[in-house]
Symmetry: D2
Subunit: 274 residues, 4 copies
């Protein structure tokens, strides 16, 4: 779940909504795995230059510290992730969001055949960036490939090139349909969300309708008046069953949100020139 808007307490986002992210740990209706208990993480922008991270390997619903911290963190840009491991170790360094400088990154999905492709993908990471890789996941590696291709300067082409590279390496190893992803990334100001799968059948991803439109549709729902007109959510699963609230991000698309701006753009992997 990613939230952008007026500063709000994290616990409003994690524990309050009808089908909050914490509830998703237990019963994920649209996710690929029924239970997401292999770790959680939150990232937000507060004091200091870089965003802060609170991540752990305990199931989210059990972590007392998560509840405590959620009641104390007030922020206008908030990322939260529940992990279901696709093979790599369950350890804090493999939990999302990942951070580099001012950027946060989280990913649902996998790189198929990662065991075979990993070495070639690792070698494609910029040598100056390589030492900053802390874990062993495909998700973090995708992040570092995107950074290698200039995520910090121009995110969408950077991610297109990263995915293009993975597909190219996979083709050379004979691994079909390697990329399954929904990704959210931010620099603290803007937020980008990607939905793409090499097979054309990506996992679910939704963005929220403008809050003022929704408040007009549902005047009885109080929280809509508290949220502020700039509030935007990007989620794997809808937070609340409210008609008109959630809009699917189409396959092979990227949504971009910044205060006052929101747009949907096509996403097409690019293969860098040989």
């Amino acid at each position: 779940m990613a939230y952008s808007g007026r500063p709000i307490l994290a616990e409003e986002l994690l524990f309050k909504p009808e089908h909050s992210l914490i509830d998703q740990s237990l019963h994920s209706r649209l996710g690929a795995t029924t239970t997401n208990g292999d770790g959680f993480g939150i990232g937000w922008y507060g004091e200091g230059e870089e965003p802060a991270l609170f991540k752990g390997v305990d199931p989210a619903w059990n972590d007392r510290n998560l509840r405590e911290i959620s009641g104390q963190v007030r922020t206008g840009m908030f990322f939260a992730h529940i992990r279901a491991s696709t093979g790599t170790a369950v350890q804090r360094s493999n939990c999302h969001p990942f951070r580099h400088g001012r950027w946060l990154w989280m990913h649902n999905g996998m790189v198929a055949g990662f065991h075979e492709l990993r070495r070639d993908l690792v070698m494609a990471v910029d040598p100056d960036l390589f030492p900053d890789i802390e874990g062993t996941t495909d998700s973090e590696l995708l992040f570092f490939l995107a950074l290698t291709f200039g995520l910090e300067q121009d995110p969408i082409p950077a991610v297109e090139r990263a995915v293009g590279l993975v597909e190219d390496v996979a083709a050379r190893h004979g691994v079909p349909h390697p990329v399954q992803m929904t990704v959210a990334t931010t620099d603290g100001v803007g937020m980008w969300a990607f939905r793409y799968a090499s097979s054309g059948q990506a996992r679910s991803l939704y963005f929220s309708t403008r809050v003022d439109k929704l408040a007009a549709l549902h005047p009885e729902v109080e929280v809509l008046h508290e949220l502020g007109t700039e509030a935007r959510f990007i989620v794997s699963e809808p937070l609340r069953d409210l008609s008109g609230a959630w809009n699917e991000v189409p396959e092979s698309s990227c949504g971009f949100v910044r205060p006052g701006e929101a747009e949907l753009l096509p996403f097409r992997p690019l293969l860098a020139a040989a």
Copy 2:
């Protein structure tokens, strides 16, 4: 799950069967909660006088050490438990099995209104036993009440008195139907399993058919020939869908197993004389 029989590697019991206990962590079909990820524990008799325990709060399917240890523990009496907390803290000291001397104890269910009843129940524990209480669960307290009433000398009446006491204290506090339990306990030689609920609707509990009878019914199933005729299982959920393999322990009953012996007896809470 409780196993009694010829020495066998724990990993055969935990990871091999069709619907093994480890799989039960994720998809418990008959349990009260869909996911049991609040801890696990195994207990077994090997070197030394007392049984050994390996318990932890990580979800069982994630614990690498559990897999490693399972491949090394060979034992003829084996207890395994997956926990779904009913309110008390998720910490190793609240994981089952609990141990006292040569005895192991595990419990599925709860004492309703435990928050209100706890002080009175704690005070009913033998003062000499009280210092050995390590955690804060209703399950461990039931164990210590049973020990107080002579579990080590005559298990069935001891548990009947323990349950009788809980029901009496609950009545005085106005808490209806306090006890929901399936319990397994052992001294390393014999194994007792109880199924009882104050409301008359207890959780599921099964014991296995004699292995030689089952091997005759299903000659094609190899593991039955490896298990040995003395093999007995007591489980919350059947380990394998095999017709004729599993028999329900009736409501308000206690099953007792010892090499060469197996019987079902009625279970009736006793209120100790005032």
Copy 3:
């Protein structure tokens, strides 16, 4: 370590000072045990009515989340504790500070013979408070005894009665010199620190000199100008070797700090009338 004063980032208090609390985990010069690696905890007043807690059983120097959170928590009343277990389990529910309503409590020391005294002490806790006990330490029990005797209304007599009770119970069990303690407690506005041992030889406890006096003594030390004149520290070990900065709290004393107020008072255990 307890801090009261102008709001400050927790990381300034935990990680910056010369001999910060985090360093104390590794090399405690004045503490009873050389290494304090059995857990840590911080408590502070921020959003909401009750103070927030962040506690864990990893050694403080290893906990990445502690570093992250410290950089985000800005508060005017801050408690931090490093634990060295005196026997009870290492688990989050046994880490300090403990909380009840708006009150925080932390304790260095032990109740000797706790194994023998525990039952009687538990029974002396107000039955309405008893259900809130989450762990199994002597420290938390002392807190609940103080609450039983009215900590929230009048702290010093309440703690005097709690200690008096422990000494009385110990005498009846033949346990000499039961209480070894330095305690810090707060309601978010005022801060009380106690130094007492039944044997007359309590662990170390210091309070800081008024910052304006100290800045006059040491004009070259920059942080003193940033701290603000109301800043007060109460610590087990001095945070910084600076002459004139630290004053010993005498044996059998209680220090009290509130904005604009600071005093030292005698502390004498009281035995409640039979």
Copy 4:
């Protein structure tokens, strides 16, 4: 600590000796860091083809499961390690011993400038072995370089080449004296221990005198009669202050032990031909 000899309970090795490895966690007299609380691990040969591992990030002295398992593991080849991180994450995948097939490996020391050298070292690992790397330590990478150079066929030259490669890569990056190491490795039958530092000043490493000679020297020490004549220890710090019991492995040497055999050989890094 490495033990080779007659099968023995792990708890005899970990918890019994005067200055056991568990005590070393707290007060390491000869180690580079005073406290080794960043994880522990044991490896041993029992059931099955491959050795078993029990590793964790809790300080060794706190891990209840370690105590329990130690009382149940009986083995003739036993490795135990206490970790003090030199920078990489504290997580189970970074704890020693590391395993590959039948081989175990543990390392005290570091590769200086690892952050700079890591990418080149990673690329030098055999592509077929690379996917098996689970963590991010220099220690594990040294192991995989040794495997790349044929550890499983001829250990000493393989380690010489691995170290040679590291020194060569370090020279090209301008990092002086890169390798600081004591290493123990085994295939379950033989045990090799290496002591080497690029600077010529390696950490401590000792091997034990033949037990029968020692029993003659110290007839009053009972455990010597229980140990069996084939017992051999290789340790970072002496387990027991007993004159004549411990012999320093010289700088730039490798000790090799197999039932009936023990020898000291020189160790010289080899640079593979260009």
